[in-house]
């Protein structure tokens, strides 16, 4: 990669200073972003006495996970003192089917739009694209009416429907742009071999899609898990996702404000997206830049 002139340049004093400044700036930015996370983590393992006495930035003196347990099982969310656990489960039950459905339909759409070009395919793609520009707030009222009509108001399945439908615009965009680079000859060859629309999709197109599936899943998982607006608007009480429950937990004050519990709860609520990035993150970049399949 590095050609000779570049290496020669790296040896001069000016280049060394430049590099030093660059690293300093990068370390500063990294610290800026990691610091809140560290403060949260530190606060969550302190007991409330220590928080009251010590400084915000001080490291914990005695590590205790009491706050975590409390946030998970006992903290009061509104009037129910159940901790985050049931709401966390709500989010899990919401995010898994929504991610699955929206990704599946996105893949099917992308496949149909690129490999089975029908009259008006571009118009439909344009409309779908437009769907990804619609702000959440615009669909709140009609969506809540629809959910009421379907009998899904204030339920996890209702949120699954909302997120699946809303996500299709994005997932279609991802899959369509990926499939556009797959050679059309593959589909032609499979057609002559005797495979139909769905057989080609399952046997040939989908097995070539892992990288874009990862991108889509990460994107959809993050979007849906972190969603607050739909959760707050379409559910109440026991059907709320963890993001809404976290908000209510923090806002439910009985006497002393338990910062350590708030922090632990916030980390718990953020943990799944964090894990998804850590596990699948490297595929994310690879999938975003991938395009051509050499066959």
């Amino acid at each position: 990669m590095a050609s000779l002139p570049q290496q020669a340049a790296a040896d001069t004093l000016g280049a060394k200073i430049g590099r030093g400044v660059l690293y300093a700036a990068l370390i500063l930015f990294a610290a800026f972003y990691i610091l809140p996370m560290l403060v949260m983590l530190a606060t969550s393992v302190k007991d409330i006495e220590e928080i009251r006495a010590g400084s915000l930035l001080a490291l914990p003196q005695a590590i205790t996970f009491e706050a975590w347990g409390y946030a998970w099982n006992e903290a009061c969310i509104g009037v129910e003192c159940t901790g985050l656990a049931p709401y966390f489960m709500n989010s899990v039950l919401m995010v898994i089917p929504s991610v699955f459905l929206s990704s599946l339909f996105g893949a099917l759409n992308g496949y149909a739009l690129t490999k089975w070009r029908f009259p008006g395919a571009n118009v439909i793609f344009g409309l779908l694209l437009f769907g990804s520009f619609i702000p959440f707030q615009v669909v709140l009222l009609p969506m809540s009416q629809t959910l009421g009509f379907l009998g899904l108001a204030s339920s996890v399945p209702g949120l699954v429907l909302v997120h699946s439908v809303y996500g299709i615009a994005f997932t279609t965009l991802f899959f369509r742009n990926y499939y556009v680079s797959l050679p059309d000859d593959l589909v032609k060859a499979a057609t002559i071999d005797g495979a139909g629309f769905f057989t080609i999709f399952w046997r040939i197109i989908l097995p070539l899609s892992p990288s874009i599936i990862v991108v889509t899943v990460i994107w959809q998982f993050t979007q849906i898990w972190n969603d607050f607006l739909f959760g707050a608007s379409f559910t109440s009480g026991g059907a709320q996702p963890v993001t809404v429950a976290l908000n209510n937990l923090v806002n439910t004050t009985t006497g002393v404000k338990l910062y350590n519990v708030d922090m632990a709860a916030a980390i718990i609520a953020a943990l799944p997206t964090l894990l998804v990035y850590i596990i699948a993150g490297r595929y994310f970049v690879r999938g975003l830049t991938a395009g051509s399949v050499k066959g």
Binding site: P183, D185, L186, K188, A189, A190, T191, I192, D193, G194, A195, T199, R203, I204, P207, L208, V293, K294, G295
Partner: protein, 374 residues
């Protein structure tokens, strides 16, 4: 072995006419090459035969059955694509098996057919690999295996060799020819490479702008091109086109054109080998005289005496291009550059005059306006 008939087939996208009425009739076991530059409609025609493209007008008939509305998988054809279109996620074996599997061929029968095909193409040792682990030539073989294994009525090849390097291309060309000789299946083969067309075909259809300019066996296409386009497209270097006048010469006719020799411009008359009656109306009119470079050679007394219609004339040499076997010698005939194939031991320096010999038994005459063969 199946015969293929294309009846006045058209393809249009709105006002754009890609195919303007193509008709051809192919007997079982023939090797038809659709030859033409890119954009001439040859691949579209192939896709229509395969059923991958709809037919605007006309009929395609395979073995007496009109297949216009028949799904590709039911046409009993197989196709080899330019990009090979191997399924990247499957092993070679699964690639070959896919078509059989889709047709519900039982597993044991599949095994038998695959091993037979793999043996035929010498790809047995590759069956467990993925396409990405194969070289270009191996992928080409696998793509052919996928087509061969089903033993279809017609093979369709869409520029199958154009992604291979020059040496491999020649090897594979020979193999395709051998395969055809061995299997005897009807083949339709698309290429823009006129050498591929000449070497492989039993029939060549030279296409341009959505029409077939000439449909004939390769030697006929080469020796008697239907028009100047075909003469120029087939053959390398292409046919020489010399603006000339048809004049009376003894009992017959001759072509007369200008040519510079020994520093002075003069006219050369070359008597036609076959001054038929049809040519009478062309007397004293302008024609285009077409002559293949190998019919325009250095003068050689021994040969001139054997060949009845060989005539000598002198001309100034402009440029020399040695190719090894022959030296391509550029001369100016009738104001147009013409190329002669000259024995490398008999060349003359550029600027000097050289004695050339034209074999008039290979001459073609064209109408300068319509560019058609007279």
């Amino acid at each position: 072995m199946a015969n293929l008939e294309v009846r006045n087939v058209r393809k249009s996208f709105g006002d754009t006419h890609v195919l303007k009425g193509i008709s051809l009739d192919l007997d079982g076991g023939e090797f038809l090459v659709l030859l033409g530059p890119s954009g001439c409609g040859k691949s579209t025609l192939l896709n229509m035969i395969a059923g991958l493209d709809s037919i605007t007008d006309g009929e395609i008939v395979i073995d007496g059955r009109v297949v216009n509305a028949v799904h590709p998988k039911n046409r009993d054809i197989a196709m080899v694509f330019q990009s090979y279109a191997l399924y990247p996620n499957m092993t070679v074996k699964k690639n070959i098996a896919f078509g059989l599997e889709m047709r519900g061929v039982p597993a044991e029968e599949r095994e038998r057919l695959i091993s037979r095909t793999a043996e035929l193409l010498q790809i047995d040792h590759l069956l467990g690999r993925k396409p990405a682990q194969l070289s270009g030539g191996q992928r080409q073989r696998v793509a052919m295996g996928r087509a061969l294994v089903r033993d279809p009525k017609i093979f369709l090849f869409d520029e199958p060799l154009s992604n291979l390097d020059a040496k491999l291309r020649v090897d594979m060309r020979t193999e395709i020819k051998k395969l055809h000789a061995r299997l005897g299946t009807t083949i339709v083969y698309v290429t823009h490479d006129q050498i591929e067309a000449m070497t492989l075909a039993t029939q060549i259809a030279v296409m341009r702008g959505g029409v077939i300019e000439q449909l004939a066996p390769p030697q006929e296409v080469y020796e008697q091109p239907a028009n100047m386009y075909v003469g120029g497209f087939v053959g390398s270097p292409p046919m020489n086109f010399v603006p000339a006048t048809l004049v009376e010469h003894g009992n017959g006719l001759a072509v007369r054109f200008a040519c510079t020799s020994d520093g002075s411009a003069g006219d050369v008359d070359l008597p036609l080998a076959d001054p038929s009656e049809d040519l009478a109306p062309w007397r004293d009119r302008k024609v285009i005289f077409g002559l293949r470079p190998e019919a325009l050679t250095d003068y050689n007394e021994a040969e001139a005496s054997i060949r009845e219609h060989a005539h000598a004339f002198d001309c100034r040499v402009d440029v020399l291009e040695p190719t090894g076997a022959d030296t391509l010698t550029y001369v100016d005939l009738g104001g147009e550059t013409a190329i002669a194939r000259v024995n490398p031991r008999r060349t003359t320096n550029p600027g000097e005059t050289m004695r050339l010999m034209a074999d008039m038994s290979h001459a073609s005459l064209f109408d300068p306006e319509t560019e058609r063969r007279i």
